[in-house]
Symmetry: C2
Subunit: 249 residues, 2 copies
DNA sequence: CGCCACGTTGACAGTCCTCAACATGGGTGG
DNA sequence: CCACCCATGTTGAGGACTGTCAACGTGGCG
């Protein structure tokens, strides 16, 4: 129950970098668009001012009109259930697109919360749809993104079905490592953007269990944990936890 | 580990009903296409012979080329993990489309297994993509389908995170009831197409736990269970299990 | 300085997994 | 036609895991 003072985001045309200059162009939407079409995509990108930590990018039930590409920072998406509980449905880092799971809806299916100061590029869905008809490869990529989202959810589902609390935590850590690697950040040392409680909510665990998992990994010499600062000392241990077969074969 | 004798499906043009006459046209792909465009959609539908129980519609790793609309029967999709385990990723009933989560891939991301004798309409992905460019509402509907798939996975994720084995089983039962209702089958009496083991795999439970849940529901007078034959005596009990708030409000 | 949010640690209880035995039912081969 | 086998489902006992409750430590902020 974070006290989320909601401030509707005022997005105006900024004078920040364009897609062609963007450090993320190889992993973001531009990566699937031909060079000559990039200006068209760039034209519909709306670059806004940063969203401060704790603010919302959009919230569940609000009319759906835009999807967002994350440029920097970290977002969590939550879904409020009919019984009032909040379920975290995903964490998103730079280069990722959020809001696409609402495309079938007239309203956003979940709420996007900035875990850190975050900058995004907003894209009107109607414009994106229109451009998708003009640029087939963009349309394809939207399908790719969505099917990727489906498979991502299935991975989480598997991780949770596989039970063991420590496996789930290991999986989250590896996913984060992978994301940080893509963003060219340090691969073995990073700062968790989310709280233990968030992790527990996401993984279907009590926050104490998450805490104990970190402590245990530390005792094993796999991690060095200092609150949200994490150093991964033995990454292989984490991958072996999840896919023990790789050690056998 | 079902002995799945794999027989590549030979799909030819059948002389079965066309979309316009199909009992499922209100819930299947045709529901989102204008009447005058229906014949175009109908033209790319490939109606094959039935798939016998235990056979595969497609299997993981096979080149992705078609998606399928289920006309009758029941399909489960499984993903084989690198450690050899099988994870069930979904159950599909008539009117549902399968294979769309592979759209971003060059190969099928999972395996589709017929739990009963099943008939499907196959659709070449390339044709569907082409037709989607001609019929915007079809393109939209494809997006709708995929975002629906994402949200479906998130629902399951929530159900599993909410823990309690009995809640998970209740949720599956309600989902099946809903599907059977859409197909205009009996709403309180049905035959489970899948085994206890499948249910456990899907819900992240041991098969014994699933069996115990059924037994408990029967002792409470909520269900009448006879192997795979289920009669729901107290549906409200099941919904209250999942969303207790509805009883309070 | 005190308050509050967040994280850690311990004790205990409940849920669910594991192992095992047993029941049932369909299919096969004699 | 029957015996047998195998797949599937049920039930019981024991133990591991993890949720709950509670106390405590720490750091940021007014």
């Amino acid at each position: 129950m974070e006290a989320t003072l909601y401030q509707p985001l005022k997005i105006g045309v900024g004078r920040e970098t364009h897609c062609i200059d963007c450090a993320l162009k190889l992993i973001c939407l531009p990566s699937f668009v031909k060079a000559k079409e990039l200006s068209q995509l760039d034209a519909i990108m709306i670059r806004g001012r940063p969203i401060q930590r704790g603010n919302l990018l959009f919230h569940q039930g609000q009319p759906f009109d835009q999807v967002f590409a994350i440029r920097s920072g970290f977002i969590k998406t939550t879904e409020t259930l009919s019984n009032g509980e909040e379920q975290i449905t995903g964490f998103y880092s730079p280069g990722e697109i959020i809001g696409i799971d609402s495309i079938g809806n007239s309203t956003y299916a979940n709420t996007a919360f900035a875990l850190e100061k975050t900058t995004v590029c907003a894209i009107d869905h109607s414009e994106l749809k229109f451009l998708g008809q003009l640029i087939p490869s963009l349309n394809d990529h939207l399908f790719n993104l969505m099917s990727g989202e489906i498979r991502k959810n299935q991975r989480i589902l598997r991780a949770i079905s596989q039970h063991s609390a420590e496996k789930r935590v290991a999986m989250l850590l590896l996913t984060l490592l992978e994301r940080y690697k893509i963003c060219h950040l340090s691969e073995d040392k990073f700062r968790l953007p989310m709280s233990r409680c968030d992790i527990g909510n996401y993984l279907g665990l009590a926050l104490e269990t998450v805490s104990r998992a970190f402590t245990h990994f530390q005792k094993l010499g796999v991690l060095e944990v200092n609150n949200k600062e994490i150093i991964v000392l033995n990454r292989a241990y984490l991958s072996d936890l999840i896919e023990p077969s790789k050690r056998v074969l």
